[in-house]
Amino acid sequence: MSSQPTGGSRVSLKDVKKAFGSNVVLQGIDLEIPAGQFVSIVGKSGCGKSTLLRLMIGLDSVTSGALDAPALKEQAARIVFQEPRLLPWASVKDNVAVGLGEGQSGQAADKQAAEILEEVGLKGREGLWPSQLSGGMRQRVALARALVSQPTLLALDEPLGALDALTRIDMQALLEGVWQDLGFTALMVTHDVGEAVALGDRVILIDHGQVVLDLPVDLPRPRKRGTPEFAALEGQILDKLFGDDPRAREAH
């Protein structure tokens, strides 16, 4: 592999509350996330899962409680959004270089960009414009941009939500491979329970601003969907999400 492992960093939250004005979005959040863990965060729309993610990588501040994440002090936290948010007027390589920050250019930067592009499977596409790439490839560039500065904490906010089903499966494998190679701590918000189980060491279910389920996923990787163990875990999460309403489960 072209890129060296960077390692992960821990995140801990103690009795964290987040409110926007009088609107309490999250409360009583206690979480210990060890370095290098892959955490999937699921929940219904508006449950507060994206807010939790933004708190953990410092895009929002907590209203009360304690958040401790060494990656934030070291500026080693990065985020990938659902939309790739690439600069359309910059080449793939220049987009990745944005991730290196101010004043980083020259041969060392080029080398870093080339290495990370190889890691995400985009070797040889350095000079293309984003408009010349498919949706999945654009998201790979966004991933490379987030990873080029060797973060120890990576937040993924529904990173595959805008992709078609086949590209998603492809990208899930890529994401897992990159995470295994580099070893960063991954926090992924998703609305796809299957994806959460396939990738997470642990699945956290948020409902009405609270953690209602914290489920370890102890299956060997790469995981096969459709095995009884996989289905049992999925079922457990869906039960908690929808209670005993069979129609809602069916719809999901």
């Binding site: 944005v98 991730g99 101010e102």
Partner: protein
Amino acid sequence: MAATASEGPFSRALPWLVPLALIILWQVSSSLGWLPPNILPAPTAVLEAAWTKLQDGSLIDNLGVSFARAMSGLIIGGAIGFSLGLLNGLSKTGEMLLDPTLQMIRNIPHLALIPLVIIWFGIGESARLFLVALGVFFPIYLNTLHGVRNVDPQLIEMGRIYGMNNRTLFLKVILPGALPSIFVGLRFALGVMWLTLIVAETIAANSGIGHMAMAAREFMQTDIVVLSIVIYAILGKLADSATRALERKFLAWNPAYAKV
């Protein structure tokens, strides 16, 4: 097979067919005497006039004068419009202070100011420069403002998250994002520029293509009048092609501007 057809010599000749046919029709009509020369001279007569004017040097002189006027006006008006567009696009205070006034002035046709401009500046060079600058100011101002205002806020948030300072954010995100709109403004401005110059040179000037046409009118030299009109057409087309070339260079990332 449509792709191969669009690259063939036939399709490259296609845009020239209609103008060519019109010129031939015009020449034939003149030669057969259907078109009297004091109404419209034959194309060959216009070419002859061009040759004469080229040889005595007056064509190049007048062309140079007109071109210099157009460019100075464009640079002055364009620079002011661009700067104010950036200022008001980036600063809420600037916009609140200046934009309502500018929007009010915009609704006055700038050529309506000609009597006032002649009183202020006389019929000298500054009057024409003022009119051209005023004319190109608004398209550039409005489109720069629009471009800056419409840069994707998600990209700006991305830039901030990746630690870009204001300068880098402006150079790497806001300016390139506003560029397509600024080019639209430039092309509008070029149209206004030639129009204003023609009017200004026709009304009051002692040099330039417009003056050449008006002087020829006094002696019923229709060939030189038509020559002046043709020159304006060529200048306008050249300005447009130059802008297109700039667009292809600077907006190559945008599929809408990529070379077809």
